[in-house]
C-alpha cells in the first residue's frame, strides 16, 4: 500500500513530476554519456599502452628505478630460459598472449645523407612479436595505426609520408653529404644486408656498449609511427631486437633489458604478477615485475584526470538532482499537509509519513534514472554512428570519437544507483518535515 500511495501521489501533479523526472533523466544521460566517453578514453589509452609495452615487463631488480642510465649493466643474461619458464608455467600460460625480450638503449642517430643527427631512445623488439603486440585489442577499440611524421632526420620524403613539409635546403659551409670516415666502417659489421633494403632511408646509430666503448650500427627505416608527442616523434627508434642487442652489448654477452608479457586480458595482471613473483623466488632469479601503468605514467595521469572530471560532473549532476527533488517533495508536503494530518489522526505513525515521502523520492529517482540510463545508451549508440573524430591524449593522429557502450554495466548500474540514492536522500528532509507536523495544525491547514 505504501508504494501504491507513493506512486499515485507522483502521478497527482503530472507536470511537476515530469519536470523532476526530466531533471533526473538529464543527469542520468550526462553521467552515462560522459562515463562511457571516459571509459572509451581509458580503454583507448590502455590499448595503446598494452600494444606498445605489454601488460607486464620483467626487469632485473633495480633496473626500473636505477638502470635506465646504464641498461647494459642491468641486463637479463638468461632471458631465454626465463621466457621459456614463463611461457611454460601452467598458471600463466592460459593467460599469456606472448612473452618477448626487449632491449632499451640511448645514443645518437645520424642520417649522413643530409648531414643530420639526433639523440635517440631506442627499443629493440622481435619484429614478429612486435606485430602480434600491435594487434592486441581486448576492447575492440583499436584502429589502423596511422603512419606519418618523421622529419627531423629527413626521412619524411623517402618514406612517402602524406603531407610531408618540404625540407629547406642547407647551404651552410658545414653541410656535408658524406659520413665521417670511421662510422661507415664501424657500421659495416652489422650492415651485411643493405642490398635487401632498396632505397629505404638509412640511419646510423651510435651507442655506448656495456663496457663503455662506442658502437655503431646501421639500420634501414621501414616506416615512421607518430607517438603522440613531438619529443617522442623526434627521438624514438624501434629496431630489431638482435640489432639492438648488438648495439648495446657489442661482442659481449647478449642480454635482454626486459621481458615483455602481453596477456589476453588486462584483468589478469595481478594474478600473473603474483605468479611471476613466486616463480622468480622459486628459481632464485633476481627479477622484478612492472605493469604498463608503472611504465607509462601518462596512462595513470590521463586516467586520473578523466576520473576527476567524471567525479566533478557526477557531483554537479547529483546536486542538481538533490535540489530538484528537495523542491518537488517540499512542495508536495505543503500541498498535502491536510492529508498528512488526516493520516496521522487515523493512526499512521510519524515513521509511516516519513517512509511515504522517502518512497516517493526513491520512486522519482528510480523512474528518472531508468529513463536517463536508457536514453543515455540510445544517444550513445546514435553518437557512435555519427562518425566524429578527435585526437585523443597520447595519440598523434585523429581517431574516431566514440563512447564505449559495451562492457559498461558497472557504469550504468552505478549511475542508476547514484541517482536513486541522491533522489532518496533528497526526500529525507521534506519527509522529516512532514513527519514532524503537529496533527492539529496539519488538519487546520487549508
Amino acid at each position: 500500500m505504501l508504494f501504491t500511495i507513493a506512486f499515485r501521489n507522483i502521478l497527482r501533479n503530472k507536470r511537476r513530476s515530469l519536470m523532476t523526472l526530466l531533471a533526473i533523466a538529464v543527469g542520468g544521460i550526462a553521467l552515462v554519456l560522459f562515463g562511457e566517453f571516459v571509459a572509451f578514453v581509458k580503454v583507448g589509452l590502455e590499448t595503446n599502452a598494452v600494444q606498445n609495452v605489454g601488460h607486464l615487463t620483467v626487469y632485473r631488480t633495480g633496473y626500473f628505478d636505477y638502470g635506465a642510465g646504464n641498461p647494459a649493466a642491468f641486463g637479463i643474461g638468461n632471458y631465454e630460459q626465463v621466457a621459456r619458464a614463463i611461457a611454460a608455467d601452467p598458471e600463466i600460460e592460459p593467460t599469456l598472449n606472448l612473452v618477448t625480450p626487449t632491449v632499451s638503449l640511448t645514443g645518437i642517430a645520424g642520417n649522413f645523407d643530409i648531414d643530420a643527427s639526433k639523440t635517440f631512445l631506442g627499443t629493440g623488439y622481435v619484429p614478429s612479436d612486435r606485430d602480434r603486440m600491435l594487434r592486441w585489442d581486448e576492447h575492440g577499440v583499436s584502429r589502423h595505426r596511422v603512419f606519418g611524421d618523421s622529419g627531423v632526420l629527413g626521412l619524411c620524403e623517402k618514406l612517402k609520408i602524406a603531407d610531408c613539409p618540404p625540407r629547406p635546403s642547407l647551404t651552410s659551409a658545414t653541410a656535408t653529404t658524406s659520413a665521417p670516415a670511421d662510422l661507415p666502417s664501424l657500421a659495416a659489421e652489422g650492415d651485411a644486408t643493405s642490398d635487401l633494403h632498396g632505397d629505404a632511408p638509412r640511419l646510423d646509430l651510435l651507442a655506448a656498449t656495456a663496457s663503455g666503448a662506442p658502437n655503431v650500427m646501421s639500420l634501414y627505416v621501414s616506416h615512421a609511427e607518430p607517438q603522440g608527442a613531438r619529443e617522442l616523434d623526434e627521438n624514438v627508434v624501434v629496431m630489431n631486437f638482435s640489432l639492438a642487442q648488438k648495439l648495446l652489448y657489442g661482442r659481449g654477452e647478449r642480454k635482454a633489458v626486459g621481458l615483455v608479457l602481453q596477456l589476453h586480458h588486462t584483468a589478469d595482471i595481478e594474478p600473473v604478477r603474483a605468479r611471476l613473483t613466486q616463480l622468480f623466488k622459486d628459481h632464485n632469479w633476481d627479477l622484478e615485475v612492472r605493469d604498463f601503468a608503472e611504465r607509462e605514467p601518462f596512462y595513470r595521469q590521463a586516467v586520473g584526470m578523466f576520473n576527476a572530471i567524471f567525479l566533478f560532473i557526477s557531483l554537479i549532476m547529483g546536486v542538481i538532482v538533490l535540489f530538484t527533488v528537495v523542491n518537488t517533495m517540499g512542495m508536495s508536503v505543503v500541498e498535502r499537509t491536510n492529508e498528512i494530518g488526516t493520516s496521522r489522526a487515523m493512526g499512521v505513525r510519524r515513521g509511516g509519513i516519513r517512509q511515504l515521502f522517502v518512497a516517493e523520492g526513491a520512486m522519482l529517482g528510480a523512474l528518472g534514472a531508468t529513463a536517463g540510463v536508457l536514453a543515455g545508451q540510445a544517444l550513445a549508440t546514435l553518437f557512435n554512428r555519427m562518425g566524429a573524430t578527435w585526437t585523443p591524449p597520447g595519440q598523434a593522429a585523429p581517431r574516431p570519437l566514440e563512447v564505449l557502450t559495451s562492457d559498461v554495466h558497472g557504469l550504468l548500474l552505478g549511475a542508476w544507483i547514484g541517482l536513486v540514492v541522491m533522489a532518496t536522500v533528497a526526500a529525507v528532509v521534506p519527509a522529516n518535515r512532514a513527519a514532524q507536523l503537529k496533527v492539529v495544525d496539519a488538519l487546520r491547514h487549508i
Binding site: M1, T4, I5, R8, N9, L11, R12, N338, E339, G341, T342, S343, R344, A345, M346, G347, V348, R349, R350, G352, V439, V440, L443
Partner: protein, 244 residues
Amino acid sequence: MMAATSRTPEDDRSGPAVRFRDVGKVYDDDGLRVTAIKSVSFDIPRRRFAMIVGPSGSGKTTLLNLIGCIDTPTSGRLEVCGQDIAALTDQALTDFRSQNIAFVFQNFNLLPVLTAYENVDYPLLLLGVPARERRERTMAMLESVGLADKRDHRPNQLSGGQKQRVAIARALVKRPAVVLADEPTANLDSRTGAEVILLMRKIQEDTAASFVFSTHDPQLISHADETFVIRDGELAEHRIERAA
C-alpha cells in the same frame, strides 16, 4: 501496521467513554497565551450520541481534538476509554488512536489517491488485520453505507454525500470505541445531511460505538442522546435528551 500496545475499549467497559477532570488547554502563540478550555470536568458515557455545542470559538473543536488524542491538555486529567492519555508517548498515542478512535471530518478528508474501497481498507491495514478479513469487513462496511457499487471510484468521482458516507465507513470499519465527528453535515445539503445523520445513528445503534459530535446543525442536535453546551471554554450546560 503497528503492534497493539494500547488499551482496547473492551479493557474498561464499565467507565465512561471520555472523562475530563479539571482539563484545561492554553495555547502559546509566540508568547501570546490563549485559553481555549478553562477547566472542565465531565464524563461522556459509552454508546451514546453525544453533541458538543456552542458558539464559534467556544472551545468545541479543542475539546474534540483532546478527545481524539491529536492534542494534549495543558492541565488536568483526560481519560479516553479509561486510558490517561498524558501517560502515553507520541507513538503510543498514535497507536491508541488507530485502535480506539475514529474521525469524521467536515471536509471528509478522504485520501484522494485511494479509491473508496482503499480508503475504507486503509485503517484496517494500519492495524495489521489479515487481508481476507480486511476484504470482508471493508466490503460489508461499504454495503452498509450503500456504496458497494462505488468501490473503485476515487473521491473526486463521488458527490459530497457519498464522500461523507465513505468517510463514515472508513471511521467505523475498525470498530472504534469512540467516533468523533466535527461538523459532519456542514458541507452537505439538508437532505443529504439528514441521510448521513440517520446512517450514523443506525450504525451507532448497530455497533454500540460512542459518537461525539461538535456541531451547530439543529438537525443533527435533534438526534442527540446527550448535549454538552460549551461557552467561553467552560461547560455551561449538560442535558440528557434521551435516557440510556
